[in-house]
Amino acid sequence: MARLKFLCDTERCIDCSGCVVACKEGNHVPVGVNRRRVITLDSGKPGEKSISVSCMHCADAPCIAVCPVDAIYQRDDGVVLVNKKTCIGCGYCFMACPFGAPQFPKGEVFGARGAMDKCTFCAGGPEETFSAEEKHLYGQNRIAEGKVPLCAGMCATKALLAGDADVVADVYRERVFQRGSGSNAWGWSKAYDKK
């Protein structure tokens, strides 16, 4: 089975936030939760770069390791999903995540965090595929429909790639080769770039 992965090409991302809106709107994500966001460094300065970040669906995901109620699990295709009915909103997954992916809706009793919500790779959730409950809790199941996730599907510059890891890597490798981005070796730009 193919391993599903995301890749955001920082040379192409223009900080339009279309991916954020597409995800939020298409999946009816709870208020206060963004499954995907665009982060820009050095905004307005030369060398400004943006990247769209969400759950990366890690191999050996730290969120799965720390969850005290085993609410998070990984599918065979690598997609990491949460069972919102089991989740207690403790927030440990957020502390363990290297990408800040897990999000928590507000408004529960005593100001408690609600069940964790994060990117599903548009693959629904543990409920029955295409059921109303799946859609209500987790959003669309585009993977089951044979489509790419909403964010990558609508990305205007095709900066955000999603799908079979081998194909995604091939596309990116081709781009890097054509751009001639340099070696990307550690220290080279600091040592050899002429100011």
Partner: protein, 288 residues
Amino acid sequence: MQRRFSSVVLIALTVLFAGSAFAGELQAGGAVTGSSADYYGQLINVITGNWQEYGQLFTLLQSQWFSKIFLVVITAVPAVFLLHYLIIGAKHFDHDGEQIYFFSLFARIVHFVAAISFSLLVITGLMIIFGSFFGGGMIIRTARYVHLVSAMVFALPGLLMFVMWLKEMLPQFHDIKWIFILGGYLSKKKKPVPAAKFNAGQKMYFWFATLGGGIMAYTGYIIWGFGATVDTVRIYTMLHNALGIGIVAFYLTHVYMSVFAIAGSLESMKTGYKPKDEVDILHSLYKY
């Protein structure tokens, strides 16, 4: 008296300042230069703080160690006490003889409220740690709410106990002797042990419950609302769990001592009176 209060305020302020010092870290973007590796390095710092330092440590401790250590504590400690009960047995004192007024009504009420809320804190805390055992969901979610409410209830009696017993709980030289003979609990003989109103074991539990309880309350409050940077929340969560290990161990000890190890000693927290026989042995330096 005034001095005692000001020292309490001072300790509270120190705890608060230590917390806000942590919160001051992080949030440094800086100019992006160099290779894409450098760029990703900076980016990840903006998103999730210093993951390499604290996130990884938290992941390791939470996934591998905390639940295991807690499991050892809640099985080994009672097992040791069971052996103690079977081999050495409970201490019995003459409850019909002369009685000594040991705990005022105020102290008893404060202790009672603290005991209920503290027990709930320990039970719900353990339920969260072993959440997967219960299958998570509504029952563990409820445990979290009870944990929060119990913490708020415990805050007042915790503070009152701290002020009320601070003087008697300060370490004294004879406490070292008490620790060396483990309070005489390893022998069946009734020999007077060196302790005043509270013995060294009670003193240790006192500091874990009040000062430790204060740290638990503050870190817990920050964790509950994510009221700081993610690195601070990670540190506080590790602190909360690590301190919890000690607190649970002492809690179990306190329960065993009061309910089983000294027959009938629970009565003194209900009526306020201890038998003179018991005081002369277990609190031999107490002046009544």
